[in-house]
Amino acid sequence: MVNLSLGHQFSGPTDPAADAHWPDVRERKGFFTDTSICIGCKACEVACKEWNHNPRDGDLELTAMSYDNTVSLGASTWRHVAFVEQDKERIEVARESGRRLVSLGMPSVRRPQDDAPPGPGASADATGTTDGAPTAYGNVDTTPPDTPEFRWLMASDVCKHCTHAGCLDVCPTGALMRTEFGTVVVQDDVCNGCGTCVAGCPFGVVERRSDGTAAPTTREGERKGEQPDVPKRGVAQKCTLCYDRLLDDETPACAKTCPTTSIKFGDHDDLVTDARERVAQLHAQGMTEARLYGANELDGVGGTGALFLLLDEPEVYGLPPDPRVCTADLPEMAKRAAIATGGMLAAAALAFLGGRR
């Protein structure tokens, strides 16, 4: 059952480590993945697997999904690079949708330090995970950049380390924990493999490492690719934001290896500031398709520890447009449940009372 006794917040802005009652809260850490400078080298995928001793997964077959052959995040792939090929028409759609995000007076305009609530005119997106640039759109030069005919998007996805993490909130064993850095980590030796967290993650990030199907390959006649025994079978697995490296003041493996600094690691608040500046810069270059994902602390997960700069709508990259933590409404539900319980009790009491008559 969900532990309600900690008394922590289930939605809205907060410092997650403090909220988890860490006595010595560290600066919240996160990633800012700027997909506009990603070259799709997949060094992050490899560095991640090397450092975390994750086995190779997949069947060693070409997926024909552009250059993506690992397909999605999973129990063994904690960084995943998506490849999306787009024609001119789609680029224009993306540019327009990005422009709308800005001109609607989005919470994007609102910096974390501003306390003013979003304007009343904000659309449904206002509580969404995607937002635009902090600049007034009227001032920017919208000369389109030079590659309009075709583009090839590359984006390295990772666990979002949500401010309000569904996986953690639903975990019955306490295997999932909030670290002092505000990140979310699975404790392999506590996890009992129940899989509740898999359904609890609004991004589809967590996966149980299955205990038979992680075998190297299903290809006929394949005798190669012997791997070391697949470790940690049956337990939930996901990115730890290299918790072990953070404890040693080291940069996570993916960010360390990224040759173009597409993956930036740092203090969450600094990353949000940098990310907003980068979007403003791209908008100034006419790339109105640029937008942030996860930087809005008013979204359904309270903002994410891992932010992304996207060049199209989140769905294009396989990301949910409006993720919502499954426990966001828990207090409300509890209240209603209490009322309902009270009503039931009252009704029962009445029944008994009536029965006595």
Partner: protein
């Protein structure tokens, strides 16, 4: 590169093949630079460039020539730079005739030998006192190395400074008006390279060309610089050296050499591939780009040294004797004496080319008994893979040193030829030894990368079991061979016994890598400070008092400090990052950096300030080590008669060139012409719109049954192999796969061989996304999964549509790797650049049909059927000079038969056949 205002990446795919170096492109872009990618395919580099410009593979000279013409006709050239620092004003011999005069040939071509006599390309000589007006270099013997020797890769044979000029005096017309000035010759040569021609030959639209031309010219000049980056997309052509020369001419005209953010970056693909040419693994070079002596021409030491440089020419090559003698002292120690010409006769002599492909052919002729394969996987990675594999059973023995059992080690049991029945394991007598190698983290040493930067690598852990480093292996091999001949009195064993082989050993008995770097750096041998590590190449002497293993690396161990191990983060505070590693020569980060200042020695602009003349100190100063005699004043005019470094005038930035100038026109050195000229690739369905001459007349051809060519434009059968293919690498794999297909993490990222085709070609051939395709060239039949993508663009070239097929070359057939597949290199024929002996593997002709390839020998029947249908013989494509009449006749015959314009009905995609 980070300092560039515009970066043109062409003939390379930097983001994919050089992702770590690409950080500097990202950096430049973040600072506002424009990045343009010119490539047949839209790649991961294009994805982050400002613009991708598709062009037909192999047509780069036409595009770059078009840019040169644009720069000249729009008056965009950097006048002060060009007049002062290049040979634009130099007057060329009146005997010179251009390709424009001779329909695709330069003067001096000998149809008998297929080679040029370069005499007429020479600079006009000043009238001597007796008034004979002798042309520079007209002494025929001086040209031997260039024109008369069979296939010796002469482009490299002159070292990095180009070939010798006899003296430093040249005739000039600084107004550039004399019709025989280089500048006027250049103008005439490129006059027909118009945007229209570029569109016709390259398939580059007028709008794209205009964009490129504007970007490059607007970002060049006093205040701005443009940089080019290329890789094997330029080198692997029958005129690859000329591709790079075209860019060099353009960059010199724009003043983009020797300045921050300028230059032409040769992107080297492996960790130390630059190092492997500096201290060469090439047959025709000694360390530091000293040539190997050639039998018949270099019978004496003096002949040899005269062939490198004349003492009377300008620049540092005039001191080649000091570099060579010091090398011999390093090789042979006390065994190298003035009496035995410093051991010159210990060196082998070249009798011809001994490159990869000549060695393969020699194997087939049973002329090679043994073969060492190190850091290479020729069964997968070399052109015409079938020929490579069929050559190996002719060996008595071979040694493969690698990390894994690569295909070149297991071909005798699992090659495609075993599967097809052409080879039977039980018939193969070759003895194959596999020696496990240490990886780069299991050994110490240096890597030398693109920027000429030596970076020391520490050993992280000991190699497992029997794995050995290359250093340890060769040291031990040397020790054993020397033991075998220790008692020998045979003169031919003398070099082995005289060789210095006394490296200090560590506690495990392995030679200490630093001792090798110190030997390369050089030491003083005599005098009070004998044994001192030298501080740089200027200390080298020709009298045997110094030893140096590679003169350009001298200084890397100065003061007994391993300079290559410097690792100050970000290279320290200076803009040239001097506290990281060590760059040859003399730790200069930008070569020819005297050109970063104007002729008066002042920076061209504040923005591009780098090296300048300090009047007060009377020295060159700035952000880098000046690549110039440090106290030579900008207006100094020494007597050219003195020769060598002393003859360099204050405005001769190109201190390794024999006249101190950047060469727009190369009077010597390149065997295929003094100016780059567009020729079609060996195999091309497109007509050379410029000249009757279709292909480069000096290309090296091998007309053999096992190296057949697809008919080119104008020949019968051209429609049988209608598509252009190009081969390349992916980020996820390493060349022929030896370092990636055995690793699960890399294998899963790109698990299968695939081909990339446009939707239009897929529709034309019935190819399905994710399905299979069979690709046929006259050399082989391979299969690949299909990626249908808009990243491949059909181009309109010469009025018709040209489809291109993209083929990564990482996979090979075998049973050891995690992932295997057919090898793209099997499709490629062997035709070589005469300057470099590099094969044309970036462009060829093929057909593509749907479905998997036939097996068990049936693939050979399919190949035979194609060859028959196209009427291919060994003579196909191998006519040195294009016969204009034959071309016309074939064309009209083809048109009459009607089989040229429309596909042959027999040529329909035959998915149902298998």
């Amino acid at each position: 590169m980070a300092n560039a205002d515009c970066i043109v990446l062409q003939g390379g795919n930097m983001a994919e093949a050089h992702p770590v170096g690409f950080q500097w492109v990202s950096e430049a872009k973040a600072r506002g630079a424009k990045v343009i990618h010119v490539d047949p395919r839209f790649t991961r580099t294009s994805a982050v460039a400002d613009r991708h410009i598709p062009l037909r593979a192999g047509s780069d000279v036409a595009l770059l020539g078009g840019l040169i013409n644009y720069v000249l006709t729009h008056d965009k050239w950097f006048k002060e730079y060009v007049v002062a620092y290049t040979n634009a004003a130099t007057i060329v011999s009146e005997d010179f005739r251009d390709t424009e005069d001779l329909d695709g040939l330069f003067s001096g071509f000998d149809p008998e030998t297929g080679k040029y006599d370069m005499t007429s390309w020479s600079y006009a000589a000043p009238k001597s006192e007796d008034g004979d007006g002798k042309v520079e270099g007209s002494d025929p013997s001086a040209n031997d190395a260039n024109s008369n020797t069979k296939e010796t890769a002469p482009g490299d044979a002159h070292g990095s400074g180009g070939p010798a000029l006899e003296h430093a005096e040249v005739l000039r017309d600084d107004t550039l008006q004399d019709p025989n000035t280089v500048f006027q010759i250049l103008k005439r040569h490129y006059a027909r390279y118009t945007p229209e021609l570029v569109e016709e030959l390259c398939g580059v639209s007028a709008a794209d060309f205009d964009y490129l031309a504007r970007a490059v010219t607007e970002n060049s000049g006093r205040d701005r610089t443009t940089c080019f980056g290329y890789a094997t997309g330029w080198t692997q052509h029958t005129l690859g050296a000329q591709f790079i020369r075209t860019a060099a001419v353009l960059q010199l005209l724009l003043g983009n050499v020797g300045r921050p953010g300028g230059g032409i970056m040769a992107l080297r693909g492996h960790a130390s591939i630059q190092g492997s040419t500096d201290i060469p693994t090439l047959f025709n070079l000694l360390p530091g780009y000293l040539p190997m002596p050639i039998a018949g021409q270099h019978d004496t030491l003096q002949d040899y040294l005269d062939g490198i440089a004349s003492k009377k020419q300008k620049g540092y090559w005039a001191n080649a004797d000091a570099y060579f003698v010091s090398l011999m002292k390093s090789y042979f120690g006390d065994g190298a004496t003035a009496e035995n010409n410093w051991g010159f006769d210990y060196l082998p002599r070249l009798t011809g080319a001994h490159g990869t492909y000549q060695t393969t052919l020699a194997m087939l002729a049973d002329e090679v008994e043994g073969f060492f394969v190190l850091g290479q996987n020729p069964a997968v990675g070399s052109a015409n893979g079938r020929m490579q594999r069929l050559a190996l059973p002719h060996l008595k023995w071979m040694v493969v040193r690698d990390l894994s059992l690569i295909e070149s080690a297991t071909w005798w049991k699992d090659s495609p030829e075993i599967a097809s029945g052409e080879m039977r394991t039980e018939d193969i007598e070759t003895e194959v030894f596999f020696m496990p190698a240490a990886t780069h983290v299991e050994k110490a040493g240096t890597f030398t990368q693109t920027q000429r930067l030596l970076q020391w690598r520490h050993k992280a852990l000991a190699p497992p079991e029997e794995c050995q480093s290359d250093l340890d292996f060769f040291y031990q091999l040397g020790v054993r061979i020397r033991e075998l001949v220790a008692e020998s009195t045979d003169e031919r064993d003398r070099p082995l016994l005289d060789m210095t082989w006394d490296y200090p050993l560590d506690e495990h008995g392995d030679p200490i890598p630093e001792s090798v770097l110190r030997e390369i750096n050089g030491v003083q041998l005599t005098g009070p400070d004998a044994g001192r590590a030298l501080s740089g190449y200027q200390e080298l002497k020709a009298d045997g008092s110094t030893a140096c293993g590679c003169w350009i690396y001298s200084g890397v161990f100065a003061d007994d400090v391993n300079m290559s191990a410097r690792r100050t983060p970000q290279g320290g505070p200076g803009v040239s990052q001097h506290e990281w590693g060590w760059a040859w020569p003399a730790d200069r980060r930008i070569l020819y950096n005297r050109a970063s200042a104007d002729p008066d020695g002042k920076p061209w602009s504040e923005r591009k300030k780098y090296i300048w003349w300090d009047e007060a100190q009377q020295r060159w100063v700035g952000d880098d080590v000046p690549d110039f005699p440090v106290d030579r004043a900008p207006h100094a005019k020494p007597d050219p008669e003195v020769g060598g470094p002393a003859a360099i005038t204050g405005d001769d930035p190109f201190i390794m060139q024999s006249d101190g100038k950047g060469w727009l026109f190369a009077p010597k050195g390149l065997v295929d012409g003094p100016l780059p000229t567009h020729y079609e690739p060996q195999e091309s369905p497109v007509d050379n719109a410029l000249y009757t001459q279709q292909q480069s007349p000096t290309r090296i051809m091998y007309a053999r049954e096992d190296n057949l060519g697809a008919p080119s434009y104008g020949s019968k059968g051209v429609e049988v192999f209608p598509y252009v293919f190009t081969t390349y690498r992916l980020t996820e794999h390493h060349t022929a796969g030896g370092m990636s297909r055995w690793l699960p993490y890399l294998s899963e990222l790109q698990p299968e061989m695939f081909c990339e085709v446009s939707p239009a070609l897929a529709a034309e051939r019935g190819l399905e996304e994710g399905g299979w395709a069979t690709i046929i060239s006259p050399r082989a039949v391979i299969e690949a999964r299909v990626l249908v993508t808009d990243r491949m663009t059909p181009l309109t070239v010469g009025g018709r549509t040209v489809h291109q097929v993209g083929l990564p070359y990482h996979w090979g057939v075998g049973d050891q790797a995690i992932v295997t597949g057919d090898a793209a290199n099997d499709l490629i024929g062997i035709t070589l650049d005469p300057n470099t002996q590099i094969q044309e593997s970036k462009v060829g002709s093929c057909d593509v049909i749907a479905g998997r390839r036939p097996r068990d020998g049936a693939e050979l029947e399919l190949l035979d059927e194609y060859i028959r249908r196209a009427g291919v013989t060994p003579a196909t494509d191998n006519q040195r000079l294009t016969d204009p009449e034959a071309e016309t006749a074939a064309l009209s015959a083809a048109e009459a038969e009607g089989d040229f314009a429309k596909p042959n009905p027999d040529d329909e995609p035959g998915g149902s056949r298998w």
